[in-house]
Amino acid sequence: MFDKMSDSWKPRIENFKITMKILLKSPASAIGLIIVLVYFIIALLDQVDPYILGITTNVNTLIPNYVNTAPQPPSWLTNPWDFSLPFGTTYPGINLYDGIIKAIRIDIAFSLFVVVSGAIIGIVLGVFSAFYGGWFDEIIMRLTDIFFSIPYLVLVIALGVFLGRSLEILSIGLIILWWPIYARVVRGQALSIKEQTYVEAARASGVKNSRIIFRHILPNTMAPIFVQFSFDLATIVLALATLYFIGFAPSNSWLPELGFLSSIGYEYAIVGDWWTIVFPGFALMIFALGMNLLGDGLRDALDPRLRR
């Protein structure tokens, strides 16, 4: 008796292997994948048990030290074997290592939340608008046009002014702005998939519309979505950082966030304490770089023309 379950998974695993093989073939996307994995592992470890990463407190805020507010340089600058303060501190006495690790988790979580919700809304609306067409399609597409024409910083700041500057409001603002991208991408894909013979074959087999949409059209539109997804994860982190950097953060919040971390110490960076801005800035940049490299690699790996 053979195991039917494992049998039907074998070809899928085989497929995944080929994808990974193509992905890892190019050094750029391999580096991207490694960077992204490292960030996600850091975020995960911080979530599970921050002590593993050498962080002594598990509160979700930055801990200012008002005793010694001036930034201190990384400890290894004075004593090469001392890693007690690997990235130094920033104003007001915040341990940058602690802050960056926590910020990575918060940023990734925030970004995932925004992108996943935006993508779900966009995908559903996009695929329905492609499948049914007509006035529904027209409305959705004009809506996306409107959202594309609004500068996101302006809308989010406006929302913040009226509804209060909290992370929740911010995420809602960004979701509202982000779903149209997915709606557009999915609609474009779905329009061409819809014309494929296998969709017609499914209809001829008596398959209901809902199943055609969710089991035939949607899965086949996923490749460009994944690519868009990886780019957007980086973009949202950057957007959040930008907003916090320009002072969108609530005045008394000590939320660990990479943009915020760079912004609070930048006055000191101007006078020579470079680490206050370099370390959080690099953490941000490398994440964005890794995500984009991975996205480019995915685009190639999921391209059916390159898989033969």
């Binding site: 080929i18 093989k21 193509i22 898989r307 033969r308």
Partner: protein
């Protein structure tokens, strides 16, 4: 006198590098094409027919595959001098890596460009991919003429204006009397050849009465529309072959080019007439997407013929067309072969088409030529079990409402093909030796070769 083949392909091996391994698309094929004949190359998908044509033309995509062994001689010139130098495949067990030496590759392409499009040209299956969608048909037809055929265009003008009445009458009578030998003799003089060409294009027009043809001939002889300066310069250029200097002087060149452009237009119209397009003048300003499939294929053929090729490679030229259009195109090609005496390598999977078109046939299976003979031998005395199976699997009048013969199994994987004869796993006569050794080509009757251990 024994005729020399125009094209000789010897033990040609072309490999492609893919994810899964090396695809041995051609595994040592031999072909000969004699002047003036049509060689039909038949076989099923993936047997390497198209790869053969791309290999001969040197159009293989260099980052994917290349000729790794063997030689191609065209008209006595070796086309495969750089094999193993320009594109190199490094084998590592079953996997391989391909490397392009850009410099050597460009050199090869430069060398081939002198032959491609001039002595050898190709008709593709899907004309839409071979025609540029943003350029008009007229531009696409005349531009290569103006770029590469200045000499011939000047000859055409000179022939009209300088040849005497006696020559003219002689040529006219030869063309209208269809005296082939006489024409061959006259063609040796390039000036007379240029005139023959123009008179022929009038003679073969089907939409005119003989009276109207005569009128057009008279029109041809009216010496007008060109200055004496042009004529004398053209004569100098043609005689001394100093083309490059005259055409590089900025203002003079554009002045000299003007009549040539007009002449190229005339030649383009002649070409389009030749492929039975009735109002060619109006077609010149059209764009490829405005034409129907059959029309596009005609334009492709006109383009391929624009330089009087010695060899025409037609890669499934009618597969994308309807039967009635296909019949038109096939008749056109047969007609043109008579008129231009070009050799044709006709590649198709359709046995009906090949029976209609080819003089000799080579049957391909999995990267090898398995049988080779003239049309009658292949169709009425097929020897190779694959050829036999193929012929019997076509539905005919006798098979109506009964079972068709089938060849069991499917075509082999070209990355890891069967050892010995590649057909043996599907062959009903397979013997021990078939799985061990490759059968050699054996002549079983005059001009009929088979690669099979049965004989």
């Amino acid at each position: 006198m024994e005729k020399q083949p125009l094209l000789i392909v010897r033990n040609l091996k072309t490999h492609f590098v893919t994810w899964k391994g090396v695809v041995k698309a051609l595994d040592g094929i031999d072909l000969e094409i004699y002047p003036g004949e049509t060689l039909g190359l038949v076989g099923e998908t993936g047997c390497g027919k198209s790869v053969t044509s791309y290999s001969i033309m040197g159009l293989l995509p260099p980052t994917q595959g290349t000729i790794v062994e063997g030689s191609i001689f065209f008209n006595g010139i070796e086309l495969t001098k750089n094999v193993g130098k320009d594109v190199i495949i490094k084998y590592k067990g079953k996997k391989a890596k391909i490397k392009v030496n850009r410099r050597a590759y460009n050199k090869t392409q430069d060398f081939l460009n002198k032959i491609r499009g001039k002595e050898m040209s190709m008709i593709f299956q899907e004309p839409m991919t071979a025609l540029n969608p943003v350029l008009s048909i007229g531009y696409q037809l005349t531009e290569p003429l103006i770029q590469h055929k200045k000499y011939e265009l000047m000859m055409r003008i000179l022939a009209r204006h300088t040849l005497g009445d006696k020559d003219f009458e002689e040529i006219k009578n030869a063309v209208f009397g269809e005296e082939k030998e006489r024409l061959m003799e006259l063609s040796k003089d390039p000036l007379k050849y240029a005139l023959i060409e123009q008179i022929k294009s009038i003679y073969y027009r089907k939409d005119l009465t003989s009276l109207q043809k005569n009128e057009l001939l008279n029109e041809l002889r009216k010496k007008k529309g060109i200055s004496r300066f042009h004529l004398s310069v053209y004569k100098k250029i043609v005689e001394s072959k100093y083309e490059s200097i005259f055409f590089k002087i900025p203002l003079l060149s554009s002045y000299l080019m003007r009549p040539l452009r007009e002449e190229a237009n005339k030649k383009a119209i002649e070409l389009l007439r030749m492929v039975n397009i009735y109002e060619p003048e109006s077609l010149l300003s059209a764009y490829p997407h405005e034409l129907s499939g059959g029309m596009r294929q005609r334009v492709m053929i006109a383009m391929a013929l624009s330089c009087d090729p010695k060899l025409l490679i037609a890669d499934e030229p009618t597969t994308a067309l309807d039967v009635t259009t296909q019949a038109q195109i096939l008749d056109l090609m047969k007609d043109l072969k008579e008129r231009t005496s070009a050799s044709i390598l006709f590649i198709t999977h359709d046995l009906g088409v090949i029976a209609d078109m080819a003089d000799r046939i080579s049957v391909m299976y999995a990267g090898n030529v398995v049988e080779n003979g003239n049309k009658m031998q292949i169709f009425y005395n097929p020897k190779h079990p694959y050829t036999r199976g193929l012929l019997r699997s076509v539905p005919t009048e006798e098979t109506m409402k009964s079972k068709l013969h089938i060849i069991p199994g499917s075509i082999p994987n070209m990355i890891d093909p069967p050892k010995g004869c590649k057909f043996h796993p599907r062959c009903e006569f397979a013997m021990d030796i078939c799985s061990r050794e490759r059968p050699p080509m054996k002549e079983i009757e005059e001009g009929h070769y088979v690669a099979c251990w049965l004989y």
